[in-house]
C-alpha cells in the first residue's frame, strides 16, 4: 500500500512536469493552430542554461532558474518571429516541417556548444526529502517542489487568461483570429506573448525535469516533449485544465505501468491509453466538440 502510494506520488510529480510542458503545447496550438515540435527542445535549452549558471558561473539556484526562464522566453519569441510568423498563411504541414527544422536546429546547436556526452545535472531543489509513516514513505524535495510549482502555475495561468486584458485577448484570438483583429486586438503581439509564456514555462519544466532525472543531453527534451504533447491531446488540446489532467494522468499511468506491468512497456501503455481515450472522446477529455457544417 505504502509502495503504491510512493509510486503514485512519483507519477503525480512526473505528471506535473508533463502538465507544465503540455501547457506550452496547448496554448500555442489553441492560438496558432500549429503543432510546435520545437517545444521539447526549448526545455532542453532551459535545462542547459540553468546547468551552466550553476556549474560554470556559480550563480545561486534562484538566479539560475530566472536566467533559464529569460533565455527561453527570448528564444521562444525569436523562433516565432523568425520561423513561424512568415508562415501564418501557409498550410499546417509547412509549419509542422518548419517546427521540426527548428527542433533539429536547436538540438544541433546544443550538440555543438555542450557536446554529445550526457551531463549530470545537479538538483536545484534545496529541500531535503520528507519522510512519513515511520520512514516507509519517502517524498523527495523535487517531487514536492514540482507539484507545488505545477499548482501555482495552473492557478496563475487560469487567472491570467480569465482576468487580464492580455489573457482575454489570447482567448479571443484562439476563438476567431479575424474577429479579434477587427476588435482592435494586436494578433501578432498576442501570438508572440503566447510563445513567450509557453517557452518560459518550458524553462521551468526543464529545470524540474532535470532535477528529478539528472541526465542532460541534447536530446533530453524530445521524449518528454512528445509525451507532454500526448498529454495535451489527452486532456483536450487548447484547454488549460485539460493539460493539467492529461499531464498528471499520463505521468501516473507511466510510473504505475513501469512498476506493475513491465519497464519496457511503460511507454506503450501511455500511448495505448491515449488511443483508447481518443476513440471514445475524439477531442480529448475536456476538448470542445466541433460540429461539422455541410
Amino acid at each position: 500500500m505504502i509502495q503504491f502510494l510512493s509510486y503514485l506520488l512519483n507519477g503525480i510529480s512526473l505528471g506535473s512536469v508533463y502538465a507544465i510542458i503540455a501547457l506550452g503545447y496547448s496554448m500555442v496550438y489553441g492560438i496558432a493552430k500549429m503543432l510546435n515540435f520545437a517545444h521539447g527542445d526549448v526545455i532542453m535549452i532551459g535545462a542547459y542554461m540553468s546547468f551552466c549558471a550553476i556549474q560554470y558561473w556559480n550563480l545561486p539556484p534562484i538566479l539560475a532558474i530566472l536566467l533559464a526562464i529569460v533565455v527561453c522566453t527570448v528564444l521562444g519569441i525569436v523562433i516565432e518571429r523568425m520561423a513561424y510568423k512568415p508562415l501564418r498563411k501557409a498550410t499546417s504541414l509547412s509549419v509542422l516541417i518548419t517546427a521540426i527544422g527548428v527542433s533539429w536546429f536547436l538540438q544541433n546547436i546544443a550538440l555543438l556548444i555542450w557536446g554529445a556526452n550526457p551531463k549530470s545535472y545537479q538538483s536545484l531543489v534545496g529541500f531535503s526529502a520528507l519522510t512519513l509513516f515511520d520512514g516507509q514513505l519517502h517524498i523527495t524535495g523535487e517531487s514536492i517542489v514540482t507539484i507545488a510549482a505545477n499548482i501555482i502555475i495552473m492557478i496563475a495561468l487560469t487567472l491570467f487568461t480569465g482576468k487580464t486584458k492580455m489573457g482575454k485577448a489570447m482567448r479571443a484570438v484562439s476563438e476567431d483570429k479575424g474577429a479579434a483583429e477587427l476588435m482592435g486586438i494586436n494578433v501578432n503581439a498576442t501570438i508572440s506573448m503566447t510563445f513567450a509564456i509557453g517557452s518560459g514555462l518550458a524553462a521551468i519544466a526543464g529545470v524540474l525535469l532535470c532535477s528529478a532525472y539528472p541526465v542532460l543531453m541534447p536530446t533530453t527534451g524530445s521524449m518528454p516533449g512528445i509525451k507532454a504533447f500526448t498529454a495535451a491531446v489527452f486532456g483536450g488540446i487548447g484547454s488549460i485544465p485539460g493539460a493539467l489532467i492529461g499531464g498528471i494522468l499520463l505521468g501516473v499511468i507511466e510510473i504505475l505501468g513501469k512498476a506493475y506491468v513491465s519497464t519496457e512497456l511503460g511507454d506503450a501503455l501511455v500511448f495505448a491509453v491515449l488511443i483508447i481515450v481518443l476513440l471514445v472522446k475524439p477531442t480529448g477529455l475536456l476538448g470542445k466538440k466541433i460540429h461539422e457544417k455541410v
Binding site: Y29, L35, F37, A83, P86, L87, K89, A90, T91, S92, L93, S94, L96, I97, T98, I100, G101, V102, W104, F105, N108, I109, L111, L112, S222, I226, F229, T230, V233, I237, S262, E264, L265, D267, A268, F271, A272, L274, I275, L278, L279, P282, T283, E292, V294
Partner: protein, 354 residues
Amino acid sequence: MTKYKKPSRNFITYAAVILAFLICQLALSGMIDGFKMSRSLKGQLIPICVYIVMAVSLNLTVGISGELSLGHAGFMSVGAFSGILISQYLLHAFPEADLELVRLIVALGFGGLMAGVAGVLIGIPVLRLRGDYLAIVTLAFGEIIRNLINCIYFSVEGRGLNFSFLDPNLPGTMLINGPMGATGIKKLATFEAGFLLVMFTLIVVLNLINSRSGRAIMAIRDNRIAAESVGINVTKYRMLAFVVSAALAGMAGALYGLNYSTIQAVKFKFDTSILVLVFVVLGGIGNIRGSIIAATVLTVLPEMLRQFGTYRMLIYAVVLIVVMLASNNPTLSSMINSFTGKFRKNSEKEGDKA
C-alpha cells in the same frame, strides 16, 4: 487532352528512374571516366531506394488521401523485422539450400504482408479520427510498435521457431533478441533489388492514383461529405490507401533490414517517420516525382555535407527551414510563377494541338 497527358507523365517518371539506375550502374562499373562514386555514396544506394519507396508510399497517405501520418516508420519496422525473421529462419532451417534470391523475395513479400496486416489493424481505429488527432494517434501507434518489438524474442531450433514475449531465455539460435534487435543478419539487399522495388512501388502507386479507386480517394480528400453523398464508400477507400501505403513501407523496411548485419527497433523511431514526412513535404505534397527527387537529394545531402564535420546536421536543419520559408514566401513564389508561367502556357498550347 488529359487522356493523353496523364500516361505520358507517368511514362516520364518511369523513364527517369530507369535512366538514373542505368547511370548509377555505369558509374559503379567505372565505365564513365572521371565520374567515380565515392565509397560512402555507394553505401547510400540501397538506403536511397528504401527512402524513395518510403516517401512515395507516405505520399499516398499524406498527399493523395490527405491524412497526416506521423508513424510511417512503425510499418517500416514491422516489415523489417518480419522480413528478417523469415529470411533468417529459412537460412537456419534449410542451410543446405542456396536460395538467396528466393529468400529475398519471400522476405520482401512477407514484410509487406505483415505491415499490411498492421495497417488494417491500426487503420480501423485511426481512420475514425481526423486532422491533427489522426496524426497524433499514428504517432502513438508508431511508438507502441517500437516498444512491442523491443519485447519480442524469436529463436530457431532445428526447423522449429520459438517465440516469447518479454522472456529472453529461449533455446536455439536467437533471431530477434528484444532490445538488442536482430543480429547476425545475412545481407541480401542489392541495388538491383532496390531499383526493382522502386519500380514496383511506382507502378502500384501511379496506377492506383489514376484508377477509379484513386479518384475516389482524392474525392474524399477534397470533400468527404460530398464524396459520401455521391455514393463513395469513404471507409473502404481511406482504408485502401492506408493499407497499400503500409504494405509498401513494410517492403521497404524488409529491404532496409536486410542491408545491415544488425538492426534495432530504435532505428525506426519517431525521427525516421518525420524524416520521411520531410521528403514528402519538400518534394511537394501529392507529387510522386517530387518525392523521389527529395528522397534522393536529402539522403545524399548529409553525405555531401560531411566535409563540414559537426556542422553538418546544423546546416541540414537551416537548409530545411530556409526552403520552407522560401517556398511559402509570397513575393518569391509570384516571381517563380511569372517565370514558369510562360513556359507552362507554351506546353499547354502544345497539349491542345495533340
